[in-house]
Symmetry: C3
Subunit: 478 residues, 3 copies
């Protein structure tokens, strides 16, 4: 059978067997000769198709994580008082806006630019956008997703960490503080720790397992929140003279619930999107599944523990349990089996409940329990990876080794603990310095009178709910 | 022209014609010999690319359907009273959490595991995750999407059915009832009917057309809601002594509207995602389009009919019309033409309006009209498929045949009717048994005093809206 | 080396080199002869895979843009008064439903059907759905995404333009007006201008750069809003006898903030989805990035300018700044560098602030500032493209040339200005005619008494917030 004959066979099969054959024949340079009237569209290569698929997946993930700003706005507004609601919701958009500019200019380069073990020294102003493939971000080169999408995805993470931090400022910090701290956190705090773990820094070299940022995103934000809530001191009316604490309930549980569901679905982008790839036989789906199962367990466990402890099934406690489980599974989602994810989530829900009680009693007024939910659960999640990581999954991800319960001894657990301590200490010190300086220069807290009338009026000049506040006998604006 | 010559031609064309050729040549084993210095990156195969695309699409669909929990939380909270709002919203998260654990452990295996014509007997605890391709779920093997994502997608459906069921419990059921019923519905009710239709059971063998679950998801949930609302009896104040009914308006139409829009977009995942594939020249897009057009028609038809009937364009009626249309097009979305989708949606909006009035007058206090919206429209949608299914689309989907109006006679319609009757009878009996047992053991309904103060206080100890309720002269907590 | 020998080599390599080879051999028709026992699954071609990827991306984008209806419902409800909240939110669903039917029947054909330079004359009732590839929409043929998805995407855009228009009707138009205007805008206004720019019309021929519709969608909707707000006259209580204006604050900033975040993420679909493709090395990601950076700049700039001007950092002004930046970057997102996007967004936030003040003082009561936010910023964004478009990006997109600041002279800027003037004049005249006719036949505005009790009661018979309004001493229904 000659090649020419076989080409005639092709001709009759060409509709059924598709464009690949045409391509092949073009490669031989025979096509134009034999079928001069046929014009073939240029087909995409497998590499181009793979880039496109991964780009769609990571873009979807980035959108979901940016949407988490709505989750935080609703959860924080719902968990605080009506007189501060407009302020709380509005400042979320403001600080994400500031974060975006600062992260574009400086933060992204510090975090993911090539540099040393402590910070990146290239890639400021997100260089390399024109030449997507060859940008100066070695730590992100494992994925072919273009830099524009990688930037949005990483910006969304920085924005989440910052939103967590601001939980500790709620109901009493001055508006200018949000401006200054947003810039400094985005420029000199968050990207440094991100570089350590994800940008090729010293914790990456040690093999720390923090898949989507229990430590990088959550513990960091929570540590800054803890420093803020301590420096700002408790809200007026929170503690009595005998040091017993009063409940200051949030004004709208429906908004809080909506916020938490938005965060739940946002976390599918957060964790499963951190693959930066849709290939690998659906590994991102496995991660979405561990994430979901941990969260379900956290919801149920936290509600039950509050029921046993308070005698009432407390909804805010359940919402904290959902978030704590999400935070805890963030480090481990790609490293653990499903049953372990359920254990990690349930334990997170329970320890967060008790630590929230403990901080409240200890005189730390953390209005939305930012440190318990994102800090304690962040520590637990990071350590839990060192307990439950399976050798197969660690190999698949390509980071670190098996956890204590899977024959890895204390090696991985030790690295995890070192990462937790390092990140906590760094953020504690830096946040303390930054906030102390802000306190010195512009002050941190509004006046007593301003706090009593509420930040909607004091910082923005109008209530967030003017009609409802007016009905309560207050004037609608100052 | 020799093969060797042609390979030299290839060499000069290699940049333009892409990596496919390289692959081809690697297959010949000649590459290393002829071009020893060239290194080729391992390219993804078409099968791997297809799996990745389908996985991204079904993951997106799963996220949209899970987000529907927010839709139900908002719609149900907005459609009930302020004193129950925190409870209604919060229990949505709780019951989805319970459902996730129960469906993972048992329900998914019963529904989609290989087994007999009535239920699956393999795949409990979602086995086969490590070896994505070879899992024990024959009924899902038509799609190459990995099991983790298929599980999340199917879990989201079970969660929707459960959320519908709980509509019938609103404003008077005790919290423990939600725990127990959530487990039993997820384990012994929902997966059985799902197996019948989607898991290779007896209705699948007959060729029942229920593309995304008008019967499997909606009629099932609604039937449980009907049993619950009858067993629980009407809310205090709903009916007068002369059996006339009072309107108990929902407290927040804005939240209801937001909930309905979330459900609308969630349904693109629900219906179009049920292809479990993004291939097929965009067939999922066609399904999204029929879904959208039916819904638009349902919205307009229901608003107009309420305007004619009440003299006022009633917004809750319109919202019910939107949902009824979505429910009705769920079975038929892949089987019918666009004009038929519009008819199905409009009719759903109208019959749901009148049946809601009828049930209200008949003394059935279904607070969010769960049975009219999801049950009656579910029946209509399932039967409508037997009327409007085109032979081309039935063949494309590969399930059943043409409907009555397209020359299929009464055959398909009969199967649809049989499916409706079978599912309704099964769920009616099982729900009655389950709820009667719960009633016997722990009781179904809160006390009269608890119902009057509201479930936020009675079941959870604090109002969902503490400041607003306090202004109305009520204490913020018990 | 004979072909037969090489086929034996293939046989031994067949597992490693993947399915492409099998396909190739099937093409030769030799497979059955040589390996009669092997059955090969049919692999997808690169073209099919590309279609699937693009379809998933554009479907996601369509869902995001349809979700923007929730954004508008929340923003508009939050920015108006409690007595109108149910009406404002509910009518959003109603008008999107009407728009969907009208756009399916007529609008889509006028806009994208093949025709002349002014409107399309084919494709009514979205013909060609069965044969996805060969539909009668030449202007959309650059993308292989199937018509069903293209229709949904374009419908979502028409729905956004209509929602913007209705901003000008807020708090005083009669419900029937919404019905009639929704049909006429969708049928005879929006699709004409869309055809000019995107459907192969005269502005397309001139090379106007309006990537996602600063003019087509936003300026159009805003111009209709301006005509409406002028014809409807100011709300009762807005202006004093001395022509000074009173602030009528919106009732719920938390809902407004949520609405704006939904719009922000929806815009990733709006702008980046307008590529109608996920290929091109992630160009859609670059567009998402310029969109995001402009928006961040708009938020910060608008808050700062309000702070300087009012002495208070005004949240509604910031929200307007976010939207104005989004509107402005809509035309230019694909044509400009990131730094230019930041400038465009910041300038949009500032000019929208001042023009909103100016219209308010000039006696134009535009309740949600629709013309300032979508009109002025739409003009600015369209002109800005003529200033900042780079030659490389203009070539990449394939529309128009470089802007004034990149060596293009006034040519492109002139075309942009012509497009703005043409669209503005056309919509101004058409809207004026349409609304004047409606005014003549059914009237535009509710009675004074109806406006005072609110549109929830007057148009729908119940409050959107019955319990809260009742507490304020008003009866819950009429």
């Amino acid at each position: 059978m000659t090649l020419e004959v076989s080409l005639h066979v092709i001709k009759s099969n060409i509709k059924g067997s598709g464009r690949m054959l045409k391509k092949f024949l073009l490669g031989f340079g025979l096509m134009a000769m034999l079928f001069p009237t046929l014009a073939f569209a240029e087909d995409a290569t497998p590499a181009q198709l793979e880039t496109a698929i991964n780009s769609v997946w990571v873009m979807l993930a980035a959108i979901l994580v940016i949407f988490m700003q709505a989750g935080f706005a609703l959860l924080e507004a719902g968990s605080t008082r009506m007189k501060n609601a407009g302020h709380v919701a509005g400042k979320t958009i403001l600080t994400f806006g500031i974060c975006a500019i600062a992260f574009w200019a400086v933060g992204f380069g510090f975090a993911f630019g090539d540099g040393n073990s402590f910070f990146g020294t290239t890639g400021f102003f997100v260089s390399g956008l024109e030449d997507q493939a060859a940008a100066a971000y070695g730590s992100l080169s494992g994925s072919t997703v273009p830099i524009g999408i990688k930037f949005l995805f990483q910006l969304a993470f920085a924005g989440v960490s910052l939103a967590i931090a601001f939980g500790g400022f709620a109901e009493r910090a001055k508006l200018p503080v949000y401006f200054i701290f947003a810039v400094l956190f985005t420029v000199v705090i968050y990207p440094i720790v991100a570089h350590w773990v994800w940008g090729g820094g010293w914790l990456a070299e040690l093999g720390m397992q923090d898949f989507a940022g229990s430590t990088v995103v959550h513990l960091q934000g929570a540590t800054a929140a803890l420093v803020a809530t301590i420096l700002l001191k408790p809200r007026i009316g929170k503690y009595n003279k005998d040091k017993t604490s009063n409940l200051i309930p949030g004004h709208n549980q429906v908004l809080s619930v909506l916020g938490v569901i938005i965060l739940w679905i946002g976390w599918f982008g957060f964790n499963a999107g951190s693959t930066l790839s849709a290939m690998g036989e659906g590994f991102f789906g496995y991660i979405a599944m561990t994430t979901n199962m941990a969260t379900a367990a956290g919801a149920v466990a936290a509600l039950l523990i509050s029921w046993m402890y308070f005698g009432k099934a407390d909804i805010p406690s359940m919402l904290n349990g959902v978030l704590a489980a999400l935070v805890a599974i963030t480090a481990s989602c790609a490293f653990v089996e499903v049953w372990a994810a359920i254990v990690i989530g349930a334990v997170a829900g329970i320890i967060t409940f008790f630590t929230a009680q403990w901080f409240d009693k200890a005189g730390v007024d953390d209005p939305v329990f930012a440190f318990s939910v994102h800090g304690i659960a962040g520590v637990w999640g990071t350590l839990a990876t060192g307990l439950f990581a399976t050798p197969e999954l660690a190999e698949k991800v390509g980071v670190g080794g098996a956890g204590l319960f899977y024959g890895g001894g204390f090696h991985q657990l030790g690295i995890q603990a070192l990462g937790v301590v390092g990140a906590f200490a760094f953020v504690l010190v830096l946040s303390f310095i930054v906030l102390s300086l802000i306190k010195l220069v512009v002050g941190l807290r509004v006046t007593e009178e301003e706090e009593i009338i509420g930040l909607d009026l004091s910082e923005h000049g109008t209530y967030g709910y003017p009609e409802q506040m007016k009905k309560a006998g207050q004037s609608a604006s100052v």
